[in-house]
């Protein structure tokens, strides 16, 4: 049984704005019966170009119906530019959260909204050149890229929860993994502000604690942070690592790579005598 919030239940049991707007200004249908959920969104603008009426028809589970209902409530009174700023996270937050496996319902809401606005403006709904990655659910590389970017996703499973991509035959898992890597590689320089020395040291400590020590301990080794001097990270190896002939390799290819990846690309790891 899914753990739905009271607000999700309320919007499922008492959905707002079910139906079709008469003579709508914008209309869109996203999803398909084969995929298990589909949403038809219609809206009308007033003389100030604000959304005065929005209605939905949804085929899908309780959370698909609840997110559709929430979406129509949220965008009422907004200009189209304001409405375009609504993210799938906003829709989920409006409902007090959704189970991870149901986040794709909020993504469907966001897609319907964009498509309906594009329909009104006469622009193509999907960016040109998008390629289908997931054949089972018809999800494109652009859809996946955006979900990864906007929701900071890191695993294929998360991408499936948010977009459904990869939830069928599973043949596209590698392709999804590559998209995640690509998007995260782009995002890094922008997402990482310049660190003060104290922040850097703290982040290095946390990264060693969280990302590095568990793997080393798994093989009977361990590592200790001794000091950080500029970009030099001074460490001492312990346990199996201290006597391991390959520990230099471990430091360069695992510890340094991890720290460069997660903290700063200029870091150099050096071993000091214990």
């Amino acid at each position: 049984m899914w753990e739905y919030t009271d607000k999700v239940k309320d919007h499922f049991l008492n959905p707002r704005n079910v139906g079709d707007v008469e003579n709508p200004d914008g209309v869109a249908e996203v999803g398909s019966m084969a995929c298990g959920d589909a949403l038809k969104l219609t809206f009308k603008l007033d003389e100030n170009k604000r959304i005065t009426e929005a209605r939905f028809k949804t085929f899908g589970c309780a959370s698909a119906i609840a997110t559709s209902s929430a979406l129509t409530e949220m965008i009422k009174g907004m200009t189209l530019d304001e409405a375009l700023k609504v993210t799938n996270q906003d829709i989920a937050a409006f409902l007090g959260g959704l189970p991870q496996e149901k986040m794709h319902c909020s993504v469907m809401g966001k897609e319907a909204l964009e498509a309906a606005i594009a329909n009104y403006r006469g622009t193509p709904a999907k960016e040109p050149g998008a390629q289908i990655i997931c054949e089972c659910f018809g999800v494109t590389d652009r859809d996946i890229e955006r979900a990864v970017r906007e929701n900071n996703l890191t695993t294929v499973e998360e991408v499936t929860n948010y977009t459904k991509a990869g939830g069928g035959c599973g043949n596209c898992h590698d392709a999804i993994g590559q998209i995640i890597e690509r998007v995260r590689a782009e995002a890094r320089p922008i997402a990482r502000p310049k660190l003060s020395n104290i922040q850097k040291m703290k982040l290095i400590e946390e990264t060693i604690e969280r990302e590095i020590r568990p793997s080393l301990k798994h093989d009977g080794g361990d590592i200790e942070l001794i000091d950080v001097v500029g970009n030099r990270v001074l460490v001492a190896t312990r346990g199996a690592c201290a006597v391991c002939k390959a520990s230099d390799l471990t430091l360069k290819h695992f510890v340094e790579v991890k720290l460069r990846d997660l903290v700063s690309p200029d870091l150099v790891v050096e071993e000091v005598a214990p």
Partner: protein, 393 residues
Amino acid sequence: MKTIYLDNNATTQVAVEVMEAMLPYFRDFYGNPSSMHSFGGQVGRKLWEAREQMAALIGATPDEIVFTSCGTESDNAAILSALAINPDRRHIVTSRVEHPAVRALCAHLAVQGCRVTELPVDKEGLLDLDQYEKSLTPDTAIVSLMWANNESGVLFPVEKAAELAHDRGILFHTDAVQAVGKIPISMQANAIDMLSLSGHKLHAPKGIGVLYVRRGTKFSPFLIGGHQEKGRRGGTENSPAIIGLGKACVLAAQHMERENTTVKQLRDKLERELLTRIPKSRVNGNVANRLPNTTNISFEFVEGEGILLLMDEHGICASSGSACTSGSLQPSHVLRAMGVPFTMAHGSIRFSLSIYNTEAEIDFVIDKLPPIIERLRSMSPYWLPGEEACARA
């Protein structure tokens, strides 16, 4: 709110008589049945009685009964045993509609190098015996086919299939978790080598299962440990649950006729009335050849989770083969194997009854479900009022 429980293929209520039979073995007679003292020994004698009761329900002898922890363990034990005692055979024949306890295990074994043939079913969920026969090879270690399907209730001709396997010297296992207690089974009258069943599907508690192993069948244990179950399954016996299962077997034998008359009539009434009252609905699976307690009905253009949650508001318990309830984003593998169209598969509901259901409960569901479907359809972009008119005309 009263609970109307129509999800007995998922699990059943523990019968009051079963509960009472078990309680002393939690409270007072907690001895280990393997102990030398009479305090433990008396439990051992009671376990033997339960073993006899279990054997009687399926026409077996007590020494052919191996108690396990659940149906899944029994399935795993059977298939892995067959591979262990036939080290030169690496082929498994099974079907596309098996329970995950068999299906996921076979998928796992396929990764480890076994060759697995998953036989298809037709649109009514039936097996093609000719195709089955052709799939048997000298390399086949075991056939595992379920007796009754948990989602559709459709029965496989396992007795005939077991003979065909035997003719070729191949072991035959059946997952009879849904069949035991609902239809008559006599192991004396068939050639099946191993059969799995689960206590909690027949009003015994969860945590107790059985693997029937035909006398003379070579067996390699799954749980290796003590001498329990004649070395066929290590681990101290779950005595209260075994005693409860024994009692449940006695009750199941007594209730077998009611299961196939009263329960069947209630199931038929539920099905007939829902199909009449709700346009664009249909039954999944062959109606003539299925369990007496199960019906799987699809309501077109709506999604199962919504139906379940709205029924839940009335205390009605059932289950669905829709994607949103399967946890996998795709509708149930059983419905897909049967080629049920997506428009139907997502809106499928399985009702499974027991002897504890009453006609008043069935009438309540017949009354409550049509407006639920109508309400969800009114929200569905695929439902056009015209279609309803057509369907009714």
